[in-house]
Symmetry: C2
Subunit: 477 residues, 2 copies
């Protein structure tokens, strides 16, 4: 028999090219150790519920009733569910003929897209068209779909921040395009410098690549910075001048841990800039129910909103959505609930506010504990996590540690993170999975471990790190 | 400004090439008419709940409890939920640390993959490995993922039955491969003739195409036929000889409406054939919670099982799954419930059996009503729906109807289906969306309208059809 189509040798090369570090070597090793009985602290993925964050009560009540609509006819329902959850479940069931077991329109339920549009209008002060909002099985699926439309082959480039969330590098590889990196400035708290963008585009052109799109992640993943309005304006001007589609990954818009730069959406900044730019820059913005104080990752709900995208293209995107029929309906309802939470005066309002504020304030404290913890370690420096869910400390590895990692056949930060995992059970992602400048090393961890566990985790990290540093600095050359 | 990346002119050509008729022109027109207030009977998609099928009670009780785990601590829970649903919810929550809001492993929860493997073992009599079962957001997503691994470019061909479910043609276009059609024999109740396969492969080779995989849909969509064991053996021998991966779309395995050919899985037939074939043919089988008597389409749950796929390839497929983090967790639990329903003696057993038998027996009667209805119409002939959810009658259009459709700029069956839609509100899919022999026309409808509505729908169809035929046969040439 010859080589078969699903033998490794004959697979689609683009599939083989894909790198995906968030669930890469470290994660696989951590899973093995867990199977062997070791206690693992999974901080490799922004997965808050897995680390003990409780779901918000109200949305779960509503979704439970939508899944079991026969409860609405039960005279005892009021003993288990508050009246506003019951009313809201009836509302969402009225939007979905056939209930949660029926495919919706491939773009998502019209009634929920309308609620998303109203949320965007309240947030930005500009009206939004539900026909240009598509619901998706999580933001990642939306990003993949848009990149699939943009990328025609290796000659097409997409500007991606480095360090970046590997969804972007993986998807660009999968669709056979070219990633064009632009570096964020670690020394300027991971700021975005437009000069770096210009250089990256010039370099790409020199290599024969047509840069067609630019990704921003705001707040940043893994870097945690929040972009200022002035910075966003520079980016939009740059996209306008260079004729780039802007992909605005804004999934962490609720996760802000400082007061100087509150979240501002790319779309609002674009609209504020006025014509001609506001009518010319093509923008796709992404959001999700997985992050914020919701953290409903497992439900897989998201949306993207398109600005200045021509109707014929919207039709093509709709057609591609149709192939897999519809996004999952329960998560569409979560999205409706997220953009339209209980209001003052509602029975569930106070509980909702208490729960969501509790989560957000704790995350803010944890961001600080983690940054301070890293900065107290030998050879570790770490920018403050202004937003999102991650800390991305730089680990200054002694030459002997780099040599040891080479002898072990590992990238130096992978070597360090593996040792950390074995010693402490803390499962991180090496900076090389996100991209970093040559000879500089990082790791990414989430700020999600429970607040009460944080001191122990940070002291266990410090103990490992400082011993590691001493061991490799002490080695005689 | 030049052409922008998301202008239609500059989109990825593969995206533009995609055809997807199930939600194509007919569906869009039906949606418009519905907005204008016309009553539409959507039989274009196999979407049972949208046409009034009630969800099974037990799984919905379990999932509601899993979504709202705080109910399990409520002393009143027993008033709304039976004890076995409560026990099962606790079981699934024990499998998913963090609950339904946490990402699972990208392949799905290990505990549920184990339940799927046990189901396969009971069904086929051969053990199954949970590590080779991946849970997905519906079967379509799984099919797309596997085809993405197989297709390297236009030179790679995939054998697809014609008429076919357009997921296959759409996905092959999207990934830039070549569809190699093999015709099913309408005169032999849509049987699969291996001679047609041989011819198709020879023709493809002549055109410089390497055929790498073959799709079977069993029971058939849109054609409704059930493949016999002997036929499956021929197919597997053919795949072995020609070195093809077999993709077994078995999503309708519960939907069988005759007793001569019960469902038999490709995998069982393959195992029964013994070595060397049983160890050499690469097979990927697909299943879903959307079909059967479940019809939980909106939940988006499915799985694929891999047989004889090398570990390095399994790793690659795992890596690609990781990019979008995890399939939605609630639908994973639906899958667990589907493969592991209440057992004799459980509190909910009788209700579960009553509900599921009720649905299946009604579908069987509807399959018969629909076939008989079509065969009573002028110029319509229709094979019996042996399985799945569709009827695919041949519509013998008079020459003058074909001429009229050409004048209207429409494909003849699109013309007919649009007229049917405008006259009756019945939304079908033209046969051209599935592929058919030159000069022969069909339409696809589901057998899903409520049983009590069926007589009226069929008589409304007959009235339209017979008048249409008389109108165009009466025209003087």
């Amino acid at each position: 028999m010859g080589v078969k189509a699903l033998d490794y040798e004959s697979l689609n090369e683009n599939v083989k090219e894909v790198q995906y570090a968030v669930r890469g070597e470290l994660y696989l090793r951590a899973s093995e150790l867990q199977k062997e009985g070791k206690k693992i602290i999974f901080t490799n993925v922004g997965n808050p519920h897995a680390l003990g964050q409780k779901p918000l009560t109200f949305p779960r009540q509503v979704i439970a009733l939508c899944q079991a609509p026969f409860l609405l006819d039960d005279p005892n329902v009021g003993q288990l569910f508050p009246a506003d959850a019951i009313a809201r479940a009836r509302h969402y069931l009225s939007l979905t003929p056939g209930g949660l077991g029926a495919y919706s329109d491939s773009r998502g339920l019209p009634g929920i897209r309308k609620e998303v549009a109203e949320f965007i209008e309240r947030r930005d002060g500009y009206s939004s068209d539900p026909e240009l909002i598509f619901l998706t099985d999580g933001a990642s699926k939306g990003v993949m779909q848009i990149l699939n439309c943009i990328i025609r082959g290796q000659g097409d480039g997409v500007l991606v921040p480095v360090p970046q969330y590997p969804l972007y590098s993986a998807t660009i590889s999968l669709y056979g395009g070219s990633l064009v990196p632009y570096y964020l400035e670690e020394s300027a708290n991971w700021g975005l410098d437009v000069n770096n963008l210009r250089e990256s585009v010039a370099q790409a052109r020199f290599n024969g690549i047509t840069v067609r799109a630019m990704v921003i992640i705001n707040p940043g993943n893994p870097t945690g910075q929040c972009l200022s309005e002035a910075n966003l304006r520079e980016v939009l001007n740059f996209c306008h001048r260079e004729n780039l589609v802007l992909l605005g990954d804004e999934v962490y818009q609720q996760n802000i841990y400082q007061d100087e730069r509150p979240f501002i959406s790319s779309r609002k900044v674009l609209m504020d800039m006025g014509q001609p730019i506001s009518k010319e820059v093509q923008l796709v913005s992404f959001h999700t129910v997985s992050k914020g104080y919701w953290g409903e990752c497992g439900q897989r709900g998201g949306y993207f909103e398109m600005t200045n995208i021509p109707p014929k293209t919207v039709d093509e995107i709709y057609k591609i959505s149709s192939i897999s029929l519809s996004p999952n309906v329960p998560a569409q309802i979560f999205m409706g609930l997220m953009v339209n939470p209980p209001k003052a005066g509602d029975i569930s309002y106070e509980q909702y506010v208490r729960e969501s504020k509790g989560i957000l304030e704790s995350l803010r404290r944890r961001a600080r504990m983690m940054t301070d913890g890293f900065n107290s370690c030998k050879n570790v420096v770490c920018n403050f996590t202004e937003g999102a869910m991650y800390s991305f400390p730089q680990i200054r590895l002694p030459p002997k540690a780099i040599e040891a990692s080479k002898n072990a056949g590992k990238v130096p930060d992978v070597f360090y993170c593996l040792k950390l995992l074995e010693a402490t059970g803390i499962s991180t992602v090496p900076g090389s999975g996100f991209g970093q400048k040559e000879g500089v090393f990082h790791l990414r961890t989430t700020i999600l471990p429970a607040e009460e566990d944080m001191p122990e985790i940070m002291s266990s990290f410090k103990k490992f790190n400082d011993e590691f540093m001493e061991q490799y600095e002490a080695v005689k050359i």
